[in-house]
Symmetry: C2
């Protein structure tokens, strides 16, 4: 098999931990597999380097900043290669450039455009363990780029896709994806298998394991991901396409997001294009609108409710000022939570919505907004009921069984 393994910052946090990772990599190699390892910078290193660059400017030259940031992963990759060499196995570290990862020219948050696998394949054929510095590539202009948050995961998924690897193992310091946040519901269980789409909907559950950018790329390239804990030998969670998941659970997991705020625009003039105007204005300012609910207009008026990240409230207030003549009042509510239940089985099971709403009702939790997709129901509720809602739903769907 060809296996890509990716180890995050805490897994390679110091030399002792890099030594442990080397043992793990060797176990895989000794089983006769071809192994590519993608590593992050030692935890704290990237922040230190960013700190250096920010000393000189709040907006340092981004091409030079990327060159600096990229050194963190270069150091870890070469250290791991040294550790592997010591065990008598051939290993070589490759920078993002040497690994053939081509990106666009958007420094500090570059997108991967293609992967030239020639160099890696040469070393794999020559029985090397190939250690790739994650989080980086090189631009059309020939300079080093970095891929932004979660970039090392992207490196791993892109390499796994380009090389048609059998699996891409993402190692972090948690066991995998859970049915809900174990800090909210201690009876949360690790999910064994989950589809890309469910994972994307459960973003907040998976965020510590894998950002949506990586899941989206894995889905596109059809890369089978296993997220595992580098500090134990537990099995982890397999993230794959729907077809690979035989037994489709009605509900896979319950996510809770407390970082949203609700904007309620009351009695907006119900004329064509008003919603488009509002949301274009927000989009132009890069405000990410999540849920949108618009009631049917009555008496030439309509209500528009939507949610945005709390951090964008100030900016949003400023923009909506332009619409104050077209609306009776605008409410800003930060005390909300979004609770979502996600499951492939929803597609073929009716009654999920009613069970969900009756669970909420039995706890006297008022639902302010609802939005649904094929595999998800999201509800906006008062933030003080967030944990109660998650626990009630978790047990109503027997996710702790």
């Amino acid at each position: 098999m060809l296996i890509v393994q990716k180890y995050g910052g805490t897994s390679v946090g110091d030399c002792q931990r890099i030594s442990n990772i080397a043992k793990r990599v060797l176990e895989t190699k000794k089983q006769g597999h071809k192994v590519i390892v993608v590593v992050s910078a030692m935890s704290g290193e990237t922040d230190k380097l960013i700190g250096y660059t920010k000393y000189f400017s709040s907006l340092p030259n981004d091409r030079e900043a990327d060159k600096i940031l990229s050194t963190g992963e270069i150091v870890t990759s070469a250290l791991l290669a040294i550790a592997l060499n010591e065990s008598g196995y051939k290993a070589i570290s490759l920078s993002g450039r040497a690994a053939g990862i081509k990106t666009d020219n958007i420094y500090t948050k570059a997108k991967i455009k293609s992967v030239d696998t020639k160099n890696i394949e040469k070393y794999l054929d020559d029985d090397y363990i190939v250690v790739v510095a994650g989080f980086q590539g090189y631009s059309d202009e020939g300079y080093i780029t970095t891929l932004g948050r979660g970039g090392s995961d992207l490196s791993a998924v892109a390499l796994a896709g380009a090389l048609n690897a059998d699996v891409c193992e993402i190692y972090t310091d948690v066991d995998g994806v859970f049915t809900t946040d174990p800090r909210i519901e201690s009876r949360a269980k690790k999910i064994e298998k989950i589809s890309y789409d469910e994972m994307l909907e459960l973003a907040s559950l998976g965020a510590k394991v894998l950002l949506n950018r990586s899941v989206e790329m894995a889905k596109k390239l059809n890369v089978k991901i296993i997220t595992r804990n580098s500090f134990n030998n537990n099995e982890g969670t397999l993230i794959t396409n729907e077809e690979q998941i035989m037994e489709k659970p009605i509900i896979s997991g319950i996510a809770c997001d407390k970082n949203q705020a609700r904007i309620g625009m009351v009695n907006v003039d119900d004329k064509p294009g008003i919603a488009a105007e509002i949301f274009s204005s927000l989009a132009d300012a890069n405000i990410n609108v999540d849920m949108i609910v618009q009631t049917i207009g009555r008496d030439g008026k309509t209500d528009i409710d939507f949610t945005i990240p709390k951090t964008d409230i100030a900016l949003c207030r400023k923009l909506l000022d332009d619409f104050k003549d077209s609306t009776q009042s605008i409410e800003y509510d930060e005390n909300i939570a979004k609770v979502s239940i996600v499951g492939l089985g929803m597609k073929s099971n009716s009654g999920v919505a009613s069970k969900t709403f009756s669970t909420m009702a039995s706890e006297n939790i008022n639902i302010m907004m609802i939005s649904t997709s094929e595999i998800k129901i999201s509800m906006i509720i008062d933030i003080k009921y967030a944990e109660l809602a998650v626990r009630s739903l978790h047990s109503a769907y027997e996710l702790d069984k």
Copy 2:
């Protein structure tokens, strides 16, 4: 003019200092010169990185180790480029590879073979300040190499030579080369101009400023060096060829080396080839023999005295064991110092030797070994007289005037 400036580890020790260096570089640029800056890693950084590599092995894979070490200079060079960009000047950082510095394949102590100046010249022509990561190049095999101790100076001198720069300024935390070690003789004076050959002979005086490897390369490439202090605006010391130095002082400086040990082989069988055998054996073990004195053989016996670095004594004892049947006894004396007086004017001034010896005699200092060159007299004396000898000679030759 085309000016190469090199800043050492303490000069770029933190972001504040890098900011100061940026100001200095800009002053030069504003005078209308083309400027190339070569930088070391922040002080302490290289040791930290070496520490990482040694965690895994006393002899870590040297190709990977060089990749790790090279990141220190890459970070500093990019930070300086950021600082310069902030001031509104075009600046770009180049790794040793991008700067075209080709080396052999001897990782961790590579030798520069050639410099391809195409890339640098392109940026200079486009009015960029070019900041080069010192201490590194790339091998025939295409991997990053580092140049060993003092490597950033070598980078600077090699670039100055290849680009035919008008001057190569080496910035450290001392004012230049002194007539002797100011810790021994507080009245030591900074030397204004000195020839390459004198500088080479005064190695111990210049060691903190410039290693002999760099002086040798500067001499070969005819690169004019000025060593200056990056923390003040003092003038520094010009190191150049003899022809550039109009007024040739009889004595330029006095060096003192306490790191040598004396080996005395008494009554060695005086047969042809015995000295060759002894010194080949030491050379094969990479022991650097400095002074050698052999008396004329009498009664088929001869005395051979020589000095080696103190650190090699144990190894030397082992090797000389092979010769114990050919010699009456072998003395090992670590309590010695080598005091050297150096000056171009010696060539045309007789009487230097006698004045030197009489100065020593007047202080009752016994001279154990003497060796001379055209521009140097070196003496081995008891280590306890080292400072006294230096001060006496310094004042006898009026170097404090």
